[in-house]
Amino acid sequence: MSAANRARPGRLLILITLVLGATILWAFWPGASHEARLGLDLRGGTQVILTPELAPGTEGVLTQDQINQTVEIIRQRVNGFGVAEAEVTVQGSGANAAIVVTVPGVNPEGITNLLKQTARLDFRAVLAAGNGIEIAVPSASPSASPSVSPKAVVQPTELPIQAATSDELYEQYLSLNCFTPGLLQGGRADDPTKYMLTCSKDGFEKFVLAPAFITGDQVSDSQASLPQQGAGGWMVTLDFDSQGATKLSEASITLSKLPSPQNRFGIVLDGLVVSAPFFSEPILGGKAQIEGSFKAEEAKQLSQVLRYGALPVTLNIAESTSISPTLGQDQLSAGLLAGAIGLILVVIYLLIYYRALGFVAVFSLIVAAGFLWLLIIALGRSIGFTLTLAGIAGAIVAIGITADSFVVYFERIRDEIRDGKSLRVATELAWVRARRTLLAADFVSLLAAVVLYALSVGSVRGFAFTLGLTTVIDVLVAFWFTHPLVTYFGKSSWAESGGILTGVSRKRLIAGSTILNGSDK
């Protein structure tokens, strides 16, 4: 007798009750959201899938580093766009990477154009800098005309603003408030030959900047490192190509002599200033370092930004889908209706064919469905799993596959009874044999789910995840719920009596066969 035969069914039932209880706690943890996270196709919204590619004319391959940097840039754009619940995720890696952006609402104006803009990296001299809020013009200033109050200057609605001369930007600079919603999104066209008015990425500083003196492609490398002497915090080192080195030495000779803030330069990524260090001395060798009170993480981020500039990434819009909330609602109810019909059909079939044993199967299906529902809620909160229509379809298909496990087990029990075993022995022997079949078959399903999940993007992924999840639930429920329940069933005197409603009636299972009747006499 194997270990499973000795295992006490009561213990397994207690075990699954505990697991179920823990899952309920996890799903309904007080204070957290208790609803499944619905995908775009069920609640409406816009989804844009972008495929990153190296900009034309650049050589090399797309690194994970650059993809992550691109995702960061897009996240900044989307968050700055001012929509709640926007999501940016990356699926796949390397040449197959796809960036999936999901925002609520249908066709938010200009979102796609905002997303596909190639981000530029430039170095620009600072002409004026100040706190990122409106600056009141000193009333004593004799040059200020009393008829023009700074409030009269229209607040910029998008950044950066570019102009041929810095004067044009100056009045707007004064009135600019970087915390105006929607300003810090970046993603607007950025002409390196023009002057620019913009904010720092966090909004705390605003700048008027000169045309770029170095462009991102002239940075050949950048690393975050600790100074040799160990004093001070992290720093970021920069290497420039020969063109960049010449321009750097020219700029640093001029700028380092000027007073603050004109000795500073802005490192501008995607239209926003990521860092604005100052030149302490002329830099002649094409190698520079930015020192400051960097934390390790900040230094790494900045060096990543600088490396990105060398190989700008273009984004292609691979797919953009937008679904209205009413269609989403329709799809959700249709999906749930299909699930309900499917479940009822299977329940009816199981009850007609397996009678009392069918009840065990129906209970098991209900427990499995309960697990799935709880996990969808819990995983939605913890790992951001979203339920899509394809996912619902996957769950409905899983009803059949889970019920198949019970069919395999029950038919085995019937075979054992035909062989003359008592019901109690039959349920255990059948389990030992059915168990292997179930594990092998479910392993193949799980394999399919994992391969699909790892190698696909978009809706296929959501489906694969649901399929894998339900396969695991299937095994769990069969081992810890169905089997112990059948064991109790097998021990009951009513089932052993073999009435026609038990589903394991010996009389019915040998009827019509001379061999079975003969061997039984």
């Binding site: 066709n107 059949g400 392993f443």
Partner: protein
């Protein structure tokens, strides 16, 4: 005879369908189906959705007739389009690829003519290379999966069973794709999902059948009552009821998706997915019985020890006067169940329950 009695007789072998022996018939049927499928595939080709060829799709909640809709779309400046009425209240308009600005203008133009709010118009726009990417990923996924499954099935069963299972799997995939070619149903990413799910299901079914074959043929070399072919055929008959039941149970929910998808939504994920699944699961059940096991038997019968077994079984029957003496022919004659009952591990004496023992 009642259904349950058929099941009982199938189990003992008193009623036996010669699945393995009549394999040429099954192969022929499959050959015809696959030939038609291939004809459809290379003749008509697949009706690829915009996800695969690029384009834009608009879903408009409107009761306007398709004819009027065509004029509205033409007025909006798009010459070629496909317009389908979805349900009673929606229209689906497919156009060639449009860029983002064109889409915005198009929506605002047709929204006025259809008298709907632009926000209620659902859009989907796909770049032409994206579909190629998805397809390539799906094919890579298929390749990796087949490789892993061969490794797993070889470890769990043996190489020949793995090979037979994969042949059955490809058979199912071909038939499913063929049905799409012949019916002209649109192929979308949801269809691809459906097809990929068949991978798992078709093998699940085959694993269940092969597990019984493996059980019946364990220690088969050590006896001389049954040859490999008869043992496997008995396994097929014994699992037949189970195969029918698992297929019905798997098809019922899929049928529900299909009914709701076609009947209520009329287009979209559910329909695309369910049709592929329905055809695939049906083909999967057929192939695990009619294709996988006969191929397995053919492969096994090339092994010298299985051939030797067949000769021994034959010689024994000739001695007993139950079979003709001609040649080394491997017979597919119906077998008596008690021959199997005496062979292998299932030879424990019959036990009676306590209650029955008292009575007798």
């Amino acid at each position: 005879m009642k259904f349950n009695e058929v099941g009982n007789r199938l189990y003992t072998g008193e009623t036996s369908i010669d699945f393995v022996g009549r394999r040429k018939l099954w192969y022929f049927i499959s050959f015809i189906i696959i030939a038609v499928a291939a004809f459809g595939l290379f003749g008509r080709g697949l009706n690829l959705g915009i996800e695969f060829k690029g384009g834009a799709k608009f879903n408009v909640p409107s009761v306007t007739s398709v004819e009027d809709a065509r004029n509205i779309v033409k007025n909006a400046g798009v010459e070629t389009s496909v317009i389908i009425a979805v349900g009673n209240e929606r229209l689906e308009i497919q156009t060639p690829p449009l860029d983002e600005t064109e889409i915005e203008t198009f929506i605002s133009k047709i929204a006025t003519d259809f008298k709907v709010e632009p926000g209620l118009i659902t859009t989907q726009s796909v770049g032409p290379s994206w579909g190629a990417d998805i397809t390539r990923q799906a094919l890579i996924g298929l390749g990796v999966f087949v490789l892993l499954v061969i490794l797993f099935l070889t470890a769990y069963f043996e190489l020949r069973m793995a090979a037979a299972a994969i042949v059955a799997l490809l058979h199912d995939l071909l038939i499913t794709i063929g049905v799409y070619a012949i019916t002209g149903f649109e192929v979308t990413p949801a269809t691809v999902i459906g097809v990929l799910t068949i991978l798992g299901y078709s093998l699940y079914d085959t694993v269940v059948v092969f597990d019984k074959v493996k059980e019946n043929t364990r220690g088969i070399i050590a006896q001389s009552r049954l040859n490999y072919r008869e043992s496997s055929n008995l396994a097929l008959n014994q699992t037949l009821i189970r195969s029918i039941n698992t297929s019905i149970v798997a098809l019922l929910p899929v049928a529900a998706i299909l009914i709701v998808g076609v009947g209520i939504l009329q287009a979209g994920t559910l329909k695309d997915l369910a049709l592929a699944l329905f055809v695939g699961i049906a083909a999967g059940t057929y192939s695990s019985i009619f294709i996988a096991t006969p191929i397995l038997v053919q492969l096994k019968e090339r092994q010298p020890e299985i051939q030797a077994l067949a000769r021994r079984v034959h010689a024994r029957r000739v001695n007993a006067g139950v079979d003709g003496p001609e040649g080394m022919k491997i017979t597919g004659s119906p077998i008596l169940a008690n021959q199997l009952m005496q062979a292998g591990p299932r030879t424990q004496p019959k036990r009676f329950t306590r209650s029955k023992r008292k009575k007798s």
